[in-house]
Symmetry: C2
Subunit: 323 residues, 2 copies
DNA sequence: CTCCGTCGTTGACACGTGCAAGTAGATCGC
DNA sequence: GCGATCTACTTGCACGTGTCAACGACGGAG
C-alpha cells in the first residue's frame, strides 16, 4: 500500500509531531491546543485528504462502530418485513454512532467477520438454537438475537387475525399453512396461537390446510376444504403470500370472498391493497421495538449489559374488502 | 481487551516462537515444518480457541476479503430484484474468497467503511453520478458500480414488453409510470425504450400515463385513458407493482383484461402468478451476469484491472393470462 | 535572581500480525 | 576433517494509531 496517507504525513506537512496531530483530530479534551496550531493541523489534513485507518485504531484498542447482522439470503418476496426492520434498525443505530452491515448467506462462515471485527453480532438464529452458541464462541464478541421474542411476535399477529374474523362475525376458522418446509417452525407457532385463541373465545377447533404453491392445486384444495367443512367461514393465512394464493384459488373456483369465506393475511404487504378483493391483513408497528432495540445494542457495544427488548406481541388489523 | 487470545499465547502454549506459529497457521510453503511441531501448534491453537485478529493482519498489509455494497434502504417490495442480485452475488464472491457485506442507507456516511477497510466498494450510484466520484475519493479503495449497464438492462426489459405485446396482436400501446418521483430517471429510460421500439416496429406512438398509487384514482385514470384513446389495446407497466395497480383498476372499472387491454409488468414478482388475472411479466436471468461480475470484482480486489461486465440487456417474457 | 507551575509539544510504547533475516545444529560432499 | 548445504527454528522489524510521561519555554511569585 503506497497510496495511503498516514498521520505521519499530516504531521510532516504541518511541521508538527504526530502526537499533536492525533490530539487535534480527536479533539482530546485533556490537552490544550492553541487555535493557531489547531488550524494548521486541520488544514494539512484537509490538503492531504487524510483519513485515519480503521484497522490501526482498532488494533490500538478503539471500540468498533460496526454491528454485523447475519441472516440467510433474501429469497422470498415476503422477507421484506425483515428487510424493513433491518433498514430501520440501521438508521436507529446510526444515531448511537454505530454502523449496521448485513451479511447474507449461511451463517457458518466464520472467517467473514474476522476482517471487520464488529462490536456486536446480530444473528437471525434464535437464542435457543445450537448455531447461536457456536457463534458466540466463534467471534470473541457478544452475539445477540436479531429478532428477540419472535415467537410472541408471530403468535400475536395470529391472535389478532382470529379476533378480527370474530368481529366480522365469523365463527368457524381455517388456517392456511405455507408449502415450504423450512417455514414449518414459524407456521407451527402461528397455528398453535390460532388454536389457543379460538378455544379461548369458545370457537370451534380450526381446520388446518397446507396450501400448494400451484394455483390449480390450491384451487382444488380450497374447493375440497369448503366441501368437507361447509361451516368454515373465515380463513387465517400464514402470511400475505399464502393469502394471495387463497384469493387466487377462490377467484378461480368461483368462491365469493368475503361472502362465502373471509380471508386475512399477515405482513401488510403493499400488494395486498391491490389484490382482488383488497386483502385484509395484520400490521405490526415495529418502530418502538427498533428504537429500544437499537439502544440495547448500543449498550452491549459499549460493554454494558444490554436490556432485554422484545418484538411487540400485539398487532393491528388492517381491514379491507376480503373480510 | 483482556480476553483476546493472541498468537503469542499459542506460541507459549506450544513452547515455540510466535513466528513458527504464524508459519504453521498460514502454512507458508517457503518453510519446512516437521509434522510433529505442526500438530503441536495446531493442537495448542485449537485448545486455546485462537482466532487471528483481522485488523492486525490488515495493518500488516494483508488484503481485505471484504466487499462493501452501498445502497439506499429496502423500502419497497419491488426492491426484491436488487435483493436477489445481492444475495446471489454474495454467494458467487464467496467462491473467490471474498465476503460481501451490505450497508443500507444514505451513501454519504463516509465513516462507515472506515472500520471495515474493504477491498472493494460497490455503489448503487451509477458511474456518471457525482456521488460516485466522491466515494472514490473518500475511500482509498476502488469503487465499482453495483449494477453496471443498468440503463441497458432497464431498456432491454421494456423492449421485450413491446415485442411481446406485438406478438399478442396488440398495436397501440400505453405506458404506465410509477407515481414516485425518485423513480423518474429509471422510468424515463423505460419510456424511451418503449417509444423507440414502437417506432422501430412501425407502431403508433405510445401513450404515457403516470398512475396514482390510490386505487380509486387509478381506476378513474385508466377509464379516462381508454375513453380518450379507444385504440389503445396493450399496456406496458413500469414494473409489477404498477402492473398490479393497473389490474386492480381494471377490475374495479369493469375493464376486461386481456380482452379490452393486455397488461404486462416487469420483474417477475412471485405474486404476479397469483394476480387476477395472472400477470404477464418480464424476467431477466442475471446468473451469468452475477458470476462474471463476481470474477471482475475479485480481480479488482486483487489489484488488477477488472474486466467490464454489464447487466444483460436481453430479457424473457413470462406469458400469463393478462396478455 | 531563583523556584515552580502551566502551556504547548514531543518521544516512545503498545496493540497483534506477517515475514525477512539470522542462527544453532545436523547432514552432506569431497 | 572441514566448509557447504540444509533443517528447524527464533529474533526483530514494520504496519498506523492513541496516549502516557517527559521536556523545554515562559511567566509570575517570592
Amino acid at each position: 500500500m503506497s497510496g495511503r496517507v498516514t498521520s505521519t504525513d499530516v504531521a510532516r506537512e504541518a511541521g508538527l509531531s504526530r502526537a499533536t496531530v492525533s490530539y487535534v483530530l480527536n479533539d482530546d479534551p485533556r490537552q490544550t491546543i492553541p487555535e493557531a496550531t489547531r488550524q494548521r493541523v486541520l488544514a494539512a489534513a484537509e490538503r492531504l485528504g487524510y483519513r485515519p485507518y480503521g484497522p490501526a485504531r482498532l488494533l490500538r484498542g478503539a471500540r468498533s462502530t460496526l454491528v454485523l447482522m447475519l441472516t440467510p439470503g433474501l429469497q422470498r418476496a415476503t422477507d421484506f418485513v425483515a428487510a424493513g426492520i433491518v433498514t430501520q434498525l440501521g438508521m436507529a443505530l446510526r444515531e448511537h454512532g454505530l454502523h449496521l452491515v448485513w451479511q447474507l448467506g449461511t451463517e457458518d462462515d466464520r472467517s467473514a467477520a474476522m476482517d471487520l471485527a464488529p462490536a456486536v453480532v446480530l444473528s437471525s438464529a434464535g437464542e435457543g438454537e445450537p448455531a447461536f452458541a457456536e457463534l458466540t464462541q466463534q467471534f470473541s464478541v457478544p452475539v445477540l438475537p436479531a429478532f428477540p421474542g419472535l415467537p410472541g411476535f408471530l403468535g400475536g399477529a395470529a391472535v389478532t387475525q382470529v379476533d378480527h374474523l370474530l368481529e366480522r362475525g365469523r365463527r368457524v376458522l381455517a388456517y392456511a399453512a405455507p408449502p415450504r418446509a423450512d417455514l414449518e417452525p414459524t407456521s407451527e407457532i402461528r397455528w398453535q396461537a390460532i388454536v389457543t385463541e379460538a378455544r379461548r373465545l369458545g370457537l370451534a377447533h380450526p381446520v388446518r390446510l397446507t396450501l400448494s404453491a400451484n394455483r390449480g392445486e390450491a384451487t382444488a384444495q380450497l374447493r375440497a376444504l369448503l366441501a368437507e367443512h361447509p361451516e368454515v367461514d373465515g380463513l387465517c393465512a400464514y402470511n400475505d403470500e399464502v393469502a394471495f394464493t387463497v384469493l387466487a384459488a377462490a377467484h378461480d373456483a368461483g368462491i365469493d370472498v368475503p361472502g362465502r369465506i373471509a380471508v386475512i393475511g399477515v405482513d401488510n404487504h403493499p400488494f395486498g391493497y391491490l389484490a382482488v378483493p383488497a386483502l385484509s391483513t395484520i400490521e405490526s408497528d415495529v418502530t418502538e421495538f427498533v428504537t429500544a432495540f437499537a439502544k440495547s445494542v448500543a449498550q452491549v457495544a459499549r460493554g454494558e449489559e444490554g436490556r432485554d427488548v422484545l418484538l411487540p406481541s400485539s398487532a393491528r388489523a388492517v381491514a379491507r374488502a376480503s373480510s
